[in-house]
Amino acid sequence: MTTSRIELTGIPIVKQLLVSRWLQWSLVAATLPFFVLAILTGLAGTPAGSRNFGIVFVWIVWWALLILVLVPLAGRFWCAVCPIPAPGEWLQRRALVQPREGGRLFTLGWKFPRRLSNLWLQNAAFIAVALFAKVILTTPFVSALALLLFVTIALVTSLLYERRIFCRYICPVGGFIGLYSQLAPAQVRVKDHALCATHHDKTCYTGNERGYGCPWLVFPAALDKNTYCGMCAECLKTCSLDNVALYARPFGADLLTNNGRRFDEAYRGLMMLAGAPLYTVVFMGPWAEIKQAAYAVGSPNWWGYALGLLALMLVIVPGIFFACAALARVIARVQTPARNFFIDYGYAALPLGLGAWAAFSLSFVLTNISYAWAVLSDPFGWGWNLFGTADWKWTPYLAGGHPILQIPILLVGLVASIAVALRTAREQHVSQRAALPIVAFAVTFTLGLVWLYV
């Protein structure tokens, strides 16, 4: 399936920027000090999360930027500038900017186990973070330890394995960024597949004097979805045929192809979908018992909360969706296994999921982002006033009016999900009525969120 696309690298300045080795390095160098400060303030700053740079800038400012701007508009762009894998990658390359000869990497070069070369490890990592989210997102010291743990794992895997194994297979955030990046109106793709077929060196994958082989273990000629493309632009630098480009495209273009659909991705989409109302209840609801249970790690109440979270994210929501997919199969009157229907229609849940997370994040961020002004001036909570904003009071923005923004976002997600579900039925060459159980699921889910938000 081809969709209309505009080559952004046709603009000379864009091309020059992307093939420059300095661009990515500069952006990582810009994010790294904030990241280091987030860890330092977490370790040494005030334990009050709302007064600590580490909590406010990571879990409110960065999160807002990621889920409301970067993922919907630029896909995995964040992954290209993320500071977490940077130390490991620089050690692996033994270089900061210019590559060593032939893009050589200094690592033991182990192959990552085939059995783990999928989303399941990332799914497990996300669940682990979700179980302790209430503590990680509110306790600066624990938040800093979590960030340090991520950096350490990224560093160790960089030294043992080839390329960016942490980003590709372990990062708990990367899994959902990848899934939702399929909706973004930007993509890195080869220009002419026939030309790739004639290119024996495959420098985009092996690397050369201009750059490294794809850090994400992706062969660009086989790339037809954004899911595993880190948008680092190494392939633009290393392609000796100038056959890779950055394109603008319609939103959600990746959902128009049924190539490469997988159970782990579909399941992750449903896990994420379950996470949005769960986080809304745990963070923004009026139910103090649930919040305190989520915070009291190890207590009997926490175990109850943990079991509930696991049941909802791993069994209940995916299970209900599986039942809808099985019903779709019955309506379609085909012998295809219900599992295949679950996989195909699972991608229809992605726009709904991104809409749900954006709606949740909007109320979370608008309510709490004003803490950022004070912590800018006093990142450790030690009484500093660097920029004269330390005394700026907490002010929830658009208080009482969040649904005015949340409902349209939810509706855009719902409408896009319905469009993908109907299209999936047509792709399967079955009656479009087969998509109606999926539509019913999406509408019921949206109404549940509407009840939570309005």
């Binding site: 709302s50 009026p286 103090a288 915070y295 009482g400 009016g401 509408v443 949206t446 509407v450």
Partner: protein, 154 residues
Amino acid sequence: MMMTWLDTRRQILIAATTLLLLGAAILVPLPIAAAAPQTHTIAINARTFAFEPATVSVQRGDTVKIHFESLDAEHGLYIDGYAVNIQAEPGRSADAAFIADQEGKFKFRCSVSCGALHPFMIGELSVEPDLPLARASAVTLIAAIGAVMFFWKD
């Protein structure tokens, strides 16, 4: 598959009808008779990190008088959408009064940094009838039906 002129016309018609119905669901006044306004005096206690009661329900037009007490440390009570922001600490309570003239659900939050879960110390004021919820639900259903019709290909 090429789209014919008839298909395009059908889709324009569906989109226009859906938008019209959405507008109606948002704007049309609903004939719900309001009960005679009452005055409620509500005692809200705050402790780390919860309000008691956590949910408060009144009718539109009611006068709400809040007596706010803190049981352990300094806490605040900020009500989204209403100009209420009071603080209390043990031994020093606070009072506020307002007319519940906006329908819907409004969060009330602690406005004094009181610890790790402070940003999530939240309660809910429900002003009935909850017309925003009814309208938002109607909008969701209309949008869903419109989307099914719009994207359905013969």
